[in-house]
């Protein structure tokens, strides 16, 4: 690229007094060099893909009173405790404080929490899959799809998932749990904090719910 070979006019017999015919070709090499440099700079210095986000609505502290709690106690309720080392403890329905070992352990693998939630939410999941197929075949519009999806997700009888991250879980666990809600098409879920009741449950099942003090 470096050496420049000037083409000479083929029949250029030099005669004194004649203007020398200059080649009209311009050497683009330096320009290309510079553009390459700029291009590389822009490619490296910029973020092409915008980060994804999850939208989340939290219950207000004062509004979260009897109604929500009662709802969570219904038979559709699933309570998840996110614990240390990405472990998940869960129970369905109303906790039975007397009976030991009702708390079951699972994890975030496809065979773990997802399987449980999918089987619990099977009616909605099948419908949503049908809807998705319809959308793929362009039988429903985007707006209709969104509307129907929201309707399906909040239809009565669907599970209500209460996510309670323990202090020793990580942010990743919380996101993974929220993610499972999306994957399993669970429409009703909430993140709440531990209540005294939960602490007894966890204590009975020997689950550590506090961050171990560092020595």
């Amino acid at each position: 690229m470096s050496a420049e070979i000037q083409e000479k006019d083929s029949g250029g017999k030099k005669k004194a007094g004649h203007m020398k015919k200059l080649s009209t070709r311009i050497d683009f090499t330096p320009m290309v060099d510079m553009i390459m440099l700029l291009l590389t700079f822009f490619m490296l210095a910029t973020s092409m893909s915008k980060p994804q986000t999850m939208e989340i609505g939290m219950p207000t502290k004062d509004k979260m009173d009897e109604k929500d709690k009662n709802e969570a106690k219904a038979s559709e309720a699933v309570t998840l405790y996110l614990s240390k080392d990405h472990k998940v403890y869960y129970f369905m329905g109303i906790p039975d404080l007397v009976k030991p070992n009702f708390l079951k352990q699972t994890d975030f693998s496809p065979e773990g929490l997802r399987k449980i939630l999918l089987s619990k939410n099977i009616a909605v999941v099948t419908k949503v899959n049908e809807l998705k197929e319809k959308k793929m075949k362009l039988q429903v519009s985007k707006e209709d799809y969104d509307k129907q999806l929201a309707k399906l997700k909040s239809s009565p009888g669907t599970p209500v998932v209460v996510i309670k991250p323990l202090d020793n879980s990580t942010y990743n666990d919380m996101i993974s749990a929220l993610d499972e809600m999306l994957i399993c098409n669970v429409g009703k879920y909430a993140i709440t904090e531990l209540e005294p009741n939960d602490k007894t449950i966890l204590k009975n099942s020997n689950v550590q719910y506090e961050v171990a003090p560092k020595n």
């Binding site: 553009i35 915008k50 986000t53 999850m54 099977i122 999941v125 991250p165 942010y171 996101i175 961050v211």
Partner: protein
């Protein structure tokens, strides 16, 4: 036998098509891209299947480092100045014009207000290095984070989006402090920034 003469070809390569393509690419990158904003601490966001992308304007971003320090970022220099003035007034700090200007053109911030003046006096490059040692206090006794959110909401109006960005390994306890503070302010809708994760479509077995 006549010798076959290989015609000498010029080694000149026509660069025009190449530069054409390059300029095209360059223009594309220049127009489509947004610049990476340097974060005071490096965080790797957890993956999720959510495909909603974050709006470009009117963001109040909250960055939580793995050890729980909170940093904030607000877009639009004018808003930054107004918000800073409000928060400074609340903490009875008089700011010089230079400090305001420096703050408005900066990026992420997160220094307790008591140390604000001290911090702004540090020259440019060292400031960046020093920032990760600070962080906005979120304790219940001195919740400056709430003051910032409140001021930002007032200045930017109801369309402002609060985006929380935290590291995968951040303990939930730290997240809880931030989310609790937001809940106190009745800021119940916010976005959690994640990176895209591929997942096989959910099908019941």
């Amino acid at each position: 036998m006549p010798k076959i003469k290989i015609a000498r070809k010029s080694t000149w390569i026509d660069m025009t098509p190449m530069s054409d393509v390059m300029i095209l690419l360059l223009t594309f990158f220049m127009l489509t891209s947004t610049f990476l904003k340097p974060d005071p601490v490096k965080v790797s966001t957890p993956g999720s299947v959510s495909e909603i992308s974050i709006p470009e304007k009117n963001i109040f971003s909250v960055l939580i480092s793995p050890d729980g320090k909170v940093f904030l970022d607000i877009d639009n220099p004018d808003d930054r100045t107004t918000i800073l003035e409000q928060v400074a007034a609340e903490y009875q700090i008089n700011l010089t014009d230079k400090e305001k200007k420096d703050f408005s053109i900066g990026t992420s911030f997160g220094v307790p207000m008591e140390q604000f003046k001290e911090f702004m006096a540090i020259p440019g490059e060292k400031q960046k290095a020093a920032l990760p040692n600070f962080g906005v206090p979120t304790d219940s006794t001195d919740n400056q984070f709430q003051a910032w959110v409140k001021a930002a909401r007032e200045v930017k109006g109801k369309d402002m989006v609060i985006a929380i960005k935290a590291d995968q390994s951040t303990p939930y306890k730290k997240i809880k402090a931030v989310m609790g503070s937001l809940q106190d302010l009745r800021e119940n809708r916010y976005n959690l920034i994640t990176s895209l994760r591929e997942v096989s479509t959910a099908k019941p077995k």
